[in-house]
Symmetry: C5
C-alpha cells in the first residue's frame, strides 16, 4: 500500500536506520485494521511461559494450541502477533507471512527465583530471521541489579537485528530497587520509556502508569514544574513525551483480565493521551473466540478515531 502521511512522518523519526529496518517498521504500521493510521494493536502470547499453561489457557482451552492465537490475531485485524520461540516455530512455516510476527527473545517463568530480576534469553535474532519475523522483542527490568547484563544483551540484539533489517520492540517493566507501587509510578514508567528510547528501541511497551511518584528527586521536579498526572490521559502524555517528545512509538499493555468496559475506558484514555496503541494478551485470548475478536475490534475502533 502507498504510505500515508502519518506513516511517513513516523518513519522520519528514525533517520539513521537502514531501509530494511524501516521497511519492517512500515510493515507493522501498514497491516490490519489500523494500517496507515500510525496506531498499533498487537496480540502477544507469552503467558504460557511467563505464568504457566493452566493459568494462561484454562479459561479458554482453545489457547493451548499454538495455531489458535495467530489465527485470532489475523481474524481480529491485529498489526502483529508476538510470541516466544516455540509458539512461533509451531506456526511460522505454516502461515508464512500472513501476519507480521514478533519473536520475543527473552522470557521468565514463575518456577525459578534468580538473584536479580532478569529473564532468560530464549531465542536469537537469527531465529527471528529464519522464521520470517518482522521484528524482535526483548524485556528489560529497569531497576534490577542485573541491569547491566540486560542492557548489554539488548545492545547486541538491537545491533544484530538492525543488520538484518529488523526493528526492536522493548518491553520495559520496572522492578527491583523500588517499592511495589513504584513499579507503575508515573516517574518510573516515564524513566523506563526514556531508557528504552536511549537504548535504541524502535517501539516501547510499558504498563499504563499510575498517579504515584517513586523517586524523591523526580517528585520535586514534577511538583515544581506542575506536570499533570491526575488522569490516565495526563500520564500517558508524560510517558509519550519522555520517549523523545513522541518521536518513538509507545504502546501500552492491558495487564490482567478486566471487565470489558473498564478495559475500553483505559484504552480511551491511552488514545486521548497520545498513546500509539495497545499490546493486549490475556484480555483477548482468555475470552471466548467471538468475544475476543469483538473486543479487539472495539479497541482498534477507539484508536482509529483518536486524533
Amino acid at each position: 500500500m502507498a504510505y500515508t502521511d502519518r506513516v511517513k512522518q513516523i518513519l522520519s523519526w528514525y533517520p539513521s536506520d537502514n531501509p530494511g529496518t524501516l521497511a519492517n517498521l512500515a510493515r507493522l504500521l501498514n497491516t490490519g485494521t489500523l494500517a496507515g493510521t500510525g496506531k498499533l494493536v498487537i496480540l502477544p502470547v507469552d503467558q504460557g511461559f511467563e505464568h504457566g499453561p493452566a493459568r494462561s489457557f484454562a479459561p479458554n482451552a482453545a489457547g493451548y494450541d499454538p495455531d489458535y492465537h495467530i489465527q485470532l490475531a489475523i481474524d481480529s485485524g491485529c498489526n502483529a502477533y508476538a510470541a516466544p520461540l516455540g509458539f512461533l516455530e509451531a506456526v511460522a512455516g505454516k502461515y508464512m507471512g500472513e501476519i507480521p510476527l514478533v519473536l520475543k527473545l527473552n522470557n521468565s517463568d514463575t518456577l525459578a527465583k534468580t538473584d536479580f530480576p532478569i529473564s532468560a534469553v530464549t531465542s536469537s535474532v537469527r531465529d527471528a530471521v529464519r522464521l520470517g519475523c518482522s521484528a524482535v522483542g526483548y524485556t528489560i527490568y529497569p531497576g534490577s541489579g542485573a541491569r547491566n547484563q540486560m542492557y548489554e544483551d539488548l545492545r547486541e540484539i538491537i545491533a544484530e537485528a538492525k543488520d538484518y533489517g529488523l526493528p526492536t520492540i522493548v518491553w520495559a517493566y520496572a522492578r527491583g530497587n523500588m517499592s511495589k507501587q513504584g513499579e507503575t509510578g508515573i516517574d518510573v514508567i516515564s524513566y523506563a520509556a526514556q531508557i528504552s528510547a536511549q537504548l535504541g528501541a524502535h517501539i516501547i511497551k510499558v504498563k499504563p502508569p499510575q498517579d504515584f511518584l517513586e523517586q524523591a528527586e523526580a517528585k520535586k521536579v514534577y511538583e515544581q514544574y506542575k506536570i499533570p498526572t491526575a488522569t490516565m490521559a495526563d500520564r500517558i502524555r508524560d510517558v509519550v513525551k519522555s520517549a523523545f517528545n513522541g518521536k518513538r512509538i509507545v504502546i501500552f499493555s492491558g495487564g490482567e483480565s478486566k471487565k470489558t468496559e473498564d478495559l475500553l475506558e483505559e484504552i480511551r484514555q491511552i488514545a486521548a493521551g497520545g498513546g500509539f496503541g495497545s499490546i493486549m494478551g490475556r484480555n483477548a485470548f482468555q475470552r471466548p473466540h467471538a468475544e475476543s475478536v469483538k473486543l479487539l475490534k472495539d479497541v482498534m475502533a477507539i484508536f482509529k478515531s483518536a486524533p
Copy 2:
C-alpha cells in the same frame, strides 16, 4: 520405509524445521518395534555418570560394559539409545548407525554440590554430528536459580543442532525453588513441559506427574476450571495438552526400579493419557538381559495397542 499417516501428522507439527531435522525426527519415529506408530521407547544410560557406577551397574554387572546397552536397545527393538559422550564414543564407531543414537550433552553427578541445580555441559552438538547421532539431549531444571544459564545454553544448542539437522530432546526435571513434592506436582510438570516446548524442544521428557498442586496461583485455576488430576491418565493428558495441545512429542521416564507389574500399569496409564512413549533406563538394564528385553517388549506392546 514409507511414512505412515501418523508420522506425517506428527512431522506437520514442526512446520518451521529444515528437512534435515525432520528427517532425523522421522528416523527416531521409524525405528524399532514401534516404527510408524508415532510412539517411542528409548533406552537411556546416563546413570553411571548421574548416580555412580556401582549404584547403576552392580545389579546387573554386564552393564559396566558400554557395548551391553546399545546391544540391549537393538535386541529389544527400541527407537533409540541415549547416553553421555564416553559411552557413545565407545560404541558409535563400531555400530555405525545400527540404531539411532542420542547424545546427552549435559550431566550431573552426586559427588559435587553446586550453588544452584545445574548440570555440566559435557559434550557438544559437534560431537553428536561426529558420532553420527540422530538427536541431542539436554537436561533443564525448571525452578533452579541457574535457570538463565541453562535456558541460554539450551537455546544455543537447539539452534546449532538444527543447523546440523538434529532435533533436540529436552529432559525437564523441576527442582530448586519448590517443595520436594512439588517437583512432580501436576502443575509443575505441565509447566515444565510448556517451558520446554516454548524453548524449542522437539521431544520433551518429564517424570510421571503426581496428584499435587505446588503453585497457589495454579491451584486456583485447576480448581476453578475443574481440570481432572485424579488418575495418572488424567494427569498425562494435562501434560500432553500443556505441550502445545499435543503438538509436541512428550515421553515419560520410568524413574527408580520398580516391580514389573507396577511399571506396566504406569505405562498403561501413560498410554491411555496420550503419552507418546517412555524413556526407560534402570528399570530395563538393571534386570537380567532376557528379563529386560521382555519388559521393554511388553512396554512397546502397550504403546502399540494404544489408540
Copy 3:
C-alpha cells in the same frame, strides 16, 4: 581549514596514533567558535538516561526533543555534541556531519543499584562508525570494586575505536572505595586523570577538583612538596600536569545547574589553570534557548581569551 600551530602542537602529543584518529581529533579541535585555539566546549546530553527525563528536561521542556540539543550545539558554536545511542540515532541521519558527534558508549541510571558502581555498556564503537561520529566516550569510576571490568572494557573500546580512526574521550568520575568528599578531592581527581591518560584516553573529562586530600599517602606528598591547591586555578593546574604534564587534553564538567556568574567564574579559573575546555550539559540546555546560547558563547569567549 589550515591547522594552527597550537593544533599541530596538540596533535604532536599523540605520535603513536594513526592518521584517521588524528584527523578526527583535529576535527573536534577545528570546529565551532573555538576552532584552532586548542580549546573545546562540548555539549553533552545524557542526563535523560542518567537522571531521568523529568529531572533533565522539565526545566526547559524543549529538551525532551532530540532535535533540540544538536541544534543548540550548532547554534552556540560548540566543538561537538555528545549523547547516548538513542539521542544520536534520532538525529545523525538528519544532520549528517553538521557538527562532530560523540557517542557515549556506556550509561547508568538512578533506578537500579548494582553491586559496585559501573555503567552499562549501551552502544558500541561500530554504532559510532555507523552513525558518522568523530569520537566515542566512555565513563569510568576510579575507586569502584568493578574497576577491572571497566578498565578492560575501555581497553577494548579504545583499541577498536583507533582501528576505525576514532579518538576516545574518557569521563572519569571517582567513586566507590572513598569518602563522598574524596570523590572530588584534588589528589583523587589528579589520580583519575593520570589513570585515564595511562589507559589511552585522548581526551579526559573530570569534575572541577576541590581543596581536599583523600588519600593519606598522597596528602603527605602534597604537603612535603608544597603543591598549591588553594585556588581552583591551582588545582586545575595540578590535574592538567597529572595528565602527562599537559600532553593530554583535559576538560571539565559543569556539574549541577548554577547561577550564571558562579559558573563563569569557575570557567575563568579553569581557563587560568590551563584547562582545555568545558563539557557543559544541564547548565546549558536547562536554560531557555537564547539564554543558553549566550551562556555557551560567554564560556567560549573566556577560553578564547585564555593564554
Copy 4:
C-alpha cells in the same frame, strides 16, 4: 614397531577416534621398556608448581633443572614424560621427540586458596601441538563446587585435542563436598574413574583407592552385591571395571614418597588388580639418580610380568 595383539585390542576400544589420535595413543603404548605390553609407566613432574620448588627438588637438587627429568624418563625406559608448560618449553626443542611428551594443561599451587577446588588452566592444546607432544593432561576434582567449569573446560580441551590427533589423560582427584577419607574411598575413586571415562578421557589417572565407602547410597549397593574391597587388588579391579569394564586405560599415582618395598608391594597389587600402569613422580625423581632408575625399572618389571 609392529603393533602387538594387546595394543591392537586396546586401540579397538576407541572405535570413534580419528587415526591421528589413535596413532598418538599407540605411540604412548609402544615406547620404552613396556612397549607393546599394553602397560604404561609415566614420569610426571608438576610438583614444582603444585607444592613449590624446595619441597619438590631439595631432596635431590639435580631436579631443579628441567633437563634432569626428561633424561631420567628416557634413561629408565618410561612410556612418556609429563610436565607443565615451562618445564616442557625448556626441553621440547632440544629433545625433539626422543620420548613422548604429555603437556599438563592445568595446575594448582599451595600459595592461593580459591573458592572451590579448581586448578588454573596454564597452557593450551595449541601449546601441546607446537611442542610436539603426544597427549595432553587435565586435572579434575570430582566433588568440587566448581565441577561445571572444570568439566566444561575439559570438554573443550578433549574436543580440540582430538582435532589435532592428541589423546587426553585425565587426572581425577576427588575433593570438595566429602570427607578427607572419602577422597580415596573406593566408591569415590570408582565414581571418579567413571566420570572421567564418560567425559571422554582416553587414559585415566586416579589415586590407589582405600577400603572405605563415602556415599551412603553407594555403600548399600557395595554391601548388597558383595563387591570385594578388602585388598588393594580387589579395589583396583573395581576401579578398572568402573572405567567401562576395563575398556579405558586406568593408571595409578604413587603419591607421597614411600619406602621402596611398600611402594613395590603397592605396584604388585595394582598389577594384580588389572591396573594398566603407574604414574610416578616424587617416588622417582626425589631419589638419587641411580636409585630412581632402578626403582622405575623394578616397577616396569612388575607390570611386564603381570597377566
Copy 5:
C-alpha cells in the same frame, strides 16, 4: 652486534621458542651498557598508575612528562624501558626503536579495592606489536584468590605474544592468602619464581627475598636440607635456582626509595647471588636527573663486574 657466548648460552635455554621471540630476547640482552653481558637493568615507570601521580612524580617534577623517562633510560644506558599503555603511546611514535620498549599489560591503582588482589588488563599484545615493543610485561599475584583468572589471562598473553615474536616478562608479587611478612619470605619468592617459569615467563621479576619462611611444609624442607638463607646473596641464589636451575632470567626490583649506599649494597648482593639484573623505578626517576643517571651507571657497573 655479534652475539657473545653468554648471550648464546642464555638463548639456548629457550629451545622451543621461535626465532622472532629469541631475536627480541636478544635485543633486550644486547642493548645499553650491559649489552652482551647477559645482565639487564630496566627502567620501569608504572608508578603513576600504581600509586598516583603526586606520590610518583612530585619528588622530581620532570617525571610528570612521559618524554622524561624514556630519555632517562637512553641516557643512562638501560637495556629497556617499561611502562603502561599511555606512557608508551606518548613516546613510541617519536623514539621509534631508540631503546627496546616493554608494554606493561596490566596495572592496579590504590583508589579501588577488588575482592581479591588482581590488576586490570589495561592493554594488549596487539598494542605492543603496534607500538614496536620488544617484550610485554604482566603482573601476577601468587597467593591471590583470583589466581586462576590471572594465570589464565597470562597463558593467553604469552601464547599470543610468542606468535608475534615477543617474549614475556612476569612481575610476580606474592600477596593474598599469606602474612604480610610472608609476601617476601624466601620460600614464597622462590615459589613465585618457579610458578612464573612454569607458566612460560621468559624473564621473571621478583622482590629481593627476606630471611623468613612462610609455609610450614616448606620450612621443614629448608631446615632439613639446610638451604642457606642468611644473606641476601644466599637467598638470591635460591630464587635463581628455583627458576629452572638458573635457566630462566630473574631480575629484582628496587622497591621504595632508599639511600644510595643501601641500594648499591643490595645490588652487590643480588649480583653475588647470581641475579641477572635489576628493574629500578622510583630509586632512579625520583632523584634529580644527573644523580639518577649516575646511580643507574653505578648499578650497571656492579653487574658488569659480577662473575
